[in-house]
Symmetry: C2
Subunit: 323 residues, 2 copies
């Protein structure tokens, strides 16, 4: 845990600051009324590449360069936001990049990654298939793998979200963070621990993840091999959190809130209607959590809501799956 403290998060902010946006923190009186809290939305949907992932990816690659390693290839596996982010970050640093994506990935996503100049390699669509293919390419090219969350420099990069949010609203009582592998949740929780120890970090999960049981027992209770959950929220479909992130989450996550796909979709719709923002399903999950009885009953008034990204299928918006 000592591997990422406030020093590392502030160093990450310094390192990536000239490339990424300091995203705005927006409010909505209509949504305050609906939730009974004061909501502060951190708009990572406006971030470079359309999601927060740009922060961690760029920090990790720049750390490698600072350590004197100029990788002949930057490699990762992700068809989604992390894939785009690593491709984008590599381009910023003029490094070649290969992104492993599962067969059947929509053309639009492949084009987005190629748009940043990365090469695509297809693999079997399972967590294990992805990892093996990425490992092989890294070995062959003598490249570095940028893991989406099990990497302390990625965690420190995502921690800059918490740093910025708490600089803007220092007395937040809660922060609602959609959780997948746990990189963003860990980073934000570490920032909060140092900047405002009274601020509770709540992990927001899709149905079936069952994070709470594992955190409570401090034991990885998930079935293996790792699975994807059956959720519309692409960004948070990984069931297991990481090996590096797990102990951080055990230590620092105050509560876990589970939301259904329909609740996430309704969250996205409310954000479009009331805030005029396009956000992806995992961002809708953050607002959905604020509207649950569990969060409404938690003490404290000021709630940070992480709108983690805005990349989604515009032909069928989240709420249109339930019409």
């Amino acid at each position: 845990m000592a591997a990422v403290g406030l020093v590392e998060i502030k160093a990450a902010a310094q390192r990536i600051g000239s490339h990424v946006h300091r995203t705005p923190v927006l409010q909505s009186s209509a949504l305050d009324l609906l939730s009974g809290k004061e909501l502060y939305f951190k708009c990572e949907n406006f971030q470079k590449t359309g999601s927060f992932k740009a922060r961690g990816a760029l920090n990790a690659i720049k750390c490698s360069l600072e350590a004197g390693v100029v990788p002949p290839m930057v490699v990762t596996h992700s068809s989604g936001n992390h894939g785009q982010a690593v491709a984008w970050a590599s381009k910023q640093l003029a490094l070649p990049c290969t992104v492993v994506v599962p067969e059947g990935t929509p053309v639009a996503k492949c084009e987005a990654i190629r748009g940043y100049g990365a090469e695509l390699v297809f693999c079997t669509p399972t967590p294990t298939g992805r990892k093996e293919t990425a490992d092989k390419i890294a070995a062959e090219t003598n490249g570095i793998i940028i893991h989406p969350y099990d990497n302390y420099n990625v965690i420190a990069g995502q921690g800059t979200i918490g740093l910025e949010l708490l600089e803007e609203v220092p007395d937040l009582d809660l922060i609602l963070v959609p959780v997948s592998g746990g990189g963003m949740t860990s980073g934000i929780a570490l920032a909060a621990k140092h900047l405002n120890p009274n601020c509770q970090v709540v992990a927001v999960e899709p149905q079936g993840k069952q994070l709470k049981q594992s955190l409570q027992q401090k034991e990885r209770l998930w079935p293996n091999p790792p699975q994807f959950l059956n959720t519309m929220a692409e960004g948070i479909k990984t069931q297991q959190v990481g090996l590096l992130t797990f102990p951080i989450l055990c230590d620092l996550v105050a509560e876990v809130v589970t939301v259904s796909d329909q609740e996430m979709a309704e969250g996205c719709r409310l954000i479009a209607e009331r805030m005029k923002l396009v956000v992806e399903a995992s961002s809708g999950a953050s607002l959905a959590a604020a509207l649950t009885a569990k969060v409404k009953e938690m003490p404290g008034k000021k709630v940070g809501i992480i709108l983690c990204g805005g990349n989604l299928d515009l032909d069928k918006l989240p709420w249109q799956h339930f019409q």
Copy 2:
């Protein structure tokens, strides 16, 4: 024309400043690339009530109060953004309000107006039917009618958009403004004339409006009675511009650009995809205009794009009409 100058626009800004948002001006490198210009998006989709109309409505009602008239009723006719804006502005000032809407107006729009505490009265769905019903109610209640554009105080209120935009980007070469009755276009053009006479104001119209012919001949060539155009862009479906706005537009509009519904829809989609913003079809029209050969060939690099509002049917987004 002398009725609205920079003094009146600055007074309007002062009058409404504590109630309305100073909306942000956003940029998008992807859309700059697509247009070949530097685009500055004035985000009135973030404005109170979801459109710029809040500015003019509030200014007009406050001017009436300042003149010593406390109206027993504030009346207007509009099922759309102006109706919501007048209802909202009346509520800010604790005045009763009646909004005349055409029969067949979608329930969601009626609810939005009622949500601001206004009473609804239904009328036959023609421009003439609206006006007659509103006139009758105003006469019966001794109320004041807030016209959506043919009112100098409304024009001055909308002019504050131009004031803010040119304060932020003083050296704009062009501003693209979606035109309906011409209140916003007049207001912005008047602000530009005083703040940067080199900045050209371009009116963006839907097909069938034929504004250019009337402006060139300085003669109202439109058929009577006034008609609505067959366009998806609710906000700009009025064919004729106003009697007060017409001479201002004749004098100050440098160019008219016509865009199809499909181009507007594509504009909305690009704004959702690249900027993560929800905007209505008339706002999509502004970006669509920037992508026409006519605007690309106009001299000057810095282009203001008015995103006039973000109120739309989320069940069927503009681009989904063409799938």
